[in-house]
């Protein structure tokens, strides 16, 4: 593309035509501040309404200041990003934003991680010159997400994420003028909407308006209750991100320190969701082969393709949006819930603890897991299989509160028996990982031969929709992968129209999969962090001596000792679930 020359802050620069002033400046190390602007490069996630005006700059010859994020560079343009007029305007914008903000940073869940707070620090705001009426909205607590819209700055990143990227449509700007706010329809609670609790709105919110429902206090109480035995399970994606909360480089694999920290926090047993990810593969892989064999034998009744069911946000999405397809996803529970079911129905007995005295805590990169554990079908006599789910961020907060110096901890292992896992379990943490783990096992069971290579690199990547054909020793198996619910929607519409060529499809709600889940350390728009976690997941897989789920000794032992056959009667009872058609509060049922 053609290049153009312009001057920014007396520096002559050359950029491709069509580049915005903001991007041009950043390419030349001029850091214009932004607030509403959000750009997760390589993921097709951008928000630039040009509404906050924090990035305002002066362009010679123009009467008004211009927002750098949406103004394109023109040949010969002379831009000033830091003269007194610009600085004063920027400060006024910030002061006006703060005039309708609670400024209660001391007790705000985003404190220290808030982009508005960072701007106030950067501009040395010491007083609030504009005083007047402030917005007042009811707080909304759903099973996973807390909304405190008094803190909203109307950047509308959450709205973009919910509508454009996820096509869930739970949030929209409503009302007008001073009363304008981002809210669900009829200003209902999120719990009454089609919200999937993916938490991506929380992940992109620059301020404390959206945050997770915090379960750390309940976890501390359980640990300190002498009558309770408390076990913890940690999801694959947590270990490659938690280090960031302790100033470690993105992509640091901190599995050993994490186990050590959990033990020092007082958990009685430190187990691993990777273990139940291996168990999931035994069930889901067997289910896939069962359906595939029927399909190949010409059975017209069998539902194809098989869709993975590990992601609770994705599950809630199809229950709302594609209830007609609810028989297609695998009935296998997610690893979190499989772990809970085995912990409460097998492990509790094994150690002689009553079900209600065993507390299962999960550490998840996810907000939807908080919702998932609250679903009725995952409870026995009102006692949930998983009691509490905390995010990677909440675990980091617990570790800091307990005066544990994370980075100097020795590396420790998980406990036995629910802590032993394979490389296949680890890669559940990223898009493409669940299906690769399934293929490793399904291939060997179906063909009776070892995989030619354990690394199915054709299934890896960060593009939104991917596909590959895996040769099962002469039988071509078509695999589809989607992350982001807008991408999932495309594949589902193909299925609905009977055009899908896939035998199996993996779906995760978050961009990048669990490594970039709603409960992970915030990326603040830096997609290099996601890339680093992604690489770390595959490194953790490579470092494992065993990399196929069906070779997990502890899982094999569980089948021998307790479950019987994969997809057998007991396994079906404990490890499989069913789905529901879900309606929102005011939805009109048109089915006759």
């Amino acid at each position: 593309m053609e290049n153009i020359k312009l001057t920014i802050d007396n520096k002559e620069i050359e950029v491709a035509a069509g580049t915005t002033i903001l991007k041009a400046a950043r390419l030349h190390n001029i850091e214009i501040p932004t607030l509403c602007y959000f750009d997760l490069k390589g993921m097709d996630i951008t928000n630039k309404p040009g509404s906050c005006r924090i990035c305002t700059v002066e362009i010679e010859g123009r009467k008004n200041l211009a927002p750098a994020c949406i103004t394109e560079c023109m040949p010969g343009m002379i831009v000033r990003t830091n003269n007194i007029r610009v600085l004063n305007a920027r400060r006024s914008v910030l002061e006006l934003l703060l005039s309708d903000h609670p400024t209660d940073c001391l007790i705000c869940p985003k404190s220290g991680n808030c982009e508005l707070q960072a701007l106030a620090v950067r501009f040395g705001i010491r007083e609030l010159p504009y005083q007047g009426e402030k917005s007042s909205h009811k707080r909304d607590k759903s099973p996973a997400i807390l909304r405190d819209m008094d803190k909203c700055v109307m950047c509308r990143r959450c709205e973009m994420m919910c509508n454009k990227f996820q096509t869930v449509g739970a949030l929209s700007a409503v009302n007008r003028g001073f009363n304008a706010v981002v809210a669900p329809a009829f200003e209902d609670s999120l719990s009454q909407t089609a919200c999937t609790f993916c938490g991506q709105c929380v992940a992109v919110c620059p301020v404390g308006a959206l945050s997770e429902v915090n379960h750390t206090a309940s976890v501390i109480r359980a640990i300190n209750d002498p009558k309770k035995t408390v076990v913890v399970q940690t999801a694959p994606a947590v270990r490659v991100a938690i280090g960031e909360e302790f100033r470690m480089k993105p992509g640091t694999i901190a599995t050993g320190q994490m186990s050590a920290a959990l033990r020092r926090l007082g958990f009685d047993y430190v187990f691993d969701t990777d273990w139940s990810a291996d168990l999931t593969i035994m069930e889901e892989g067997t289910e896939l082969l069962g359906r595939l064999n029927k399909y190949l034998a010409g059975d017209k009744e069998v539902k194809m393709p098989l869709l993975t069911s590990c992601c609770p946000a994705w599950v809630k999405f199809f229950e709302h949006q594609f209830p007609d397809l609810k028989d297609i996803p695998s009935t296998a529970k997610s690893p979190q819930q499989m772990f809970g079911a085995i912990a409460k129905n097998y492990f509790a007995q094994k150690i002689g603890v009553k079900r209600e005295d065993l507390i299962v805590v999960s550490v998840m990169p996810c907000l939807a897991k908080k919702y998932e554990l609250s679903r009725d079908e995952f409870k026995t006599d009102n006692n949930p299989d998983v009691d509490f789910s905390i995010t990677t961020r909440e675990l980091a907060a617990l570790i800091k509160q307990a005066n544990i110096d994370f980075s100097s901890l020795p590396e420790e292992d998980f406990d036995s028996p629910l802590g032993e896992s394979t490389g296949a379990g680890v890669i559940f943490g990223t898009t493409g990982g669940v299906i690769e783990a399934a293929v490793r096992t399904a291939y060997e069971i179906h063909t009776g031969k070892p995989c030619p290579s354990i690394d199915f690199t054709e299934l890896r990547g960060l593009e939104g929709i991917r596909s590959a054909t895996i040769d099962f020793d002469g039988l071509p198996i078509n695999i589809g992968i989607a992350h982001g619910l807008s991408n999932a929607r495309k594949l589902l519409e193909e299925i609905r129209e009977g055009k899908s060529q896939f035998h199996a499809i993996e779906i995760m709600a978050c961009p990048g999969g669990c490594i970039n889940g709603g409960g992970q350390p915030l990326n603040h728009g830096d997609s290099r962090i996601i890339q680093a976690r992604w690489e770390a997941i595959y490194k953790a897989d490579k470092d494992k001596p065993i990399r196929k789920s069906h070779e997990n000794k502890s899982v094999q032992q569980l089948y021998k000792e307790f479950l019987g056959e994969p997809c057998g009667e007991k396994a079906h009872h404990l490890l499989h679930t069913h789905y529901f058609k879900r309606k929102t509060e005011f939805e009109v049922d048109l089915d006759k």
Partner: protein, 159 residues
């Protein structure tokens, strides 16, 4: 939060027909809302859900539009809609005190409907009957030269 209602089948059919007339195009949302409100008298949450599903847009988006424009209302009109003229002539002759008396006796504000669905209250500008100021209408019926003391008796007529 809006009240839950059960939509009548003829309302459902009519809304679907309106959407179809606009080719179920999300870009025609405002037109669809206009015609629906004209037909039902207001835009209940259930109607917005139905329109969202027919036009394939999110219901949050539909509510975003409904809540943005003051023309759209989610409050059903009462069986006997009361309109109090607040035009200049009526105003100077005490319309506000008449309005306040309606508010007090019905225990609702302007734009609201009584819990039993009988009365709704709106304030509007000149209805062209300045000679009768202050003037109100209930449905098609006009009441003129009112004082606050008359209000109780007028309400009684409809009870």
């Amino acid at each position: 939060m809006p009240v839950k209602i059960k939509m009548k089948q003829d309302h459902i059919d009519k809304i679907k027909e309106i959407c179809k007339k606009f080719n179920n195009d999300g870009g025609e949302l405002i037109n669809v809302l206009h015609q629906t409100q004209h037909f039902i008298g207001y835009l209940p949450a259930e109607a917005q859900e139905l329109i969202a599903s027919e036009l394939n847009v999110s219901v949050a988006h539909v509510y975003g539009v409904v809540s943005f424009y003051s023309f759209f209302t989610m409050t059903p009109k009462g069986e006997y809609p009361i309109s109090v003229c607040m035009g200049t002539a009526c105003y100077v002759r005490g319309a506000e005190r008449v309005l306040d008396e309606f508010k007090r006796l019905l225990n609702i504000n302007v734009g609201e409907t009584t819990a039993d669905g009988k009365f709704s209250l709106t304030a509007l500008r000149c209805i062209g009957a300045c000679g009768l100021a202050p003037v109100i209408t209930i449905g098609e019926k006009v009441y003129g030269r009112l004082a606050p003391d008359d209000v109780k008796g007028i309400i009684e007529e409809y009870k």
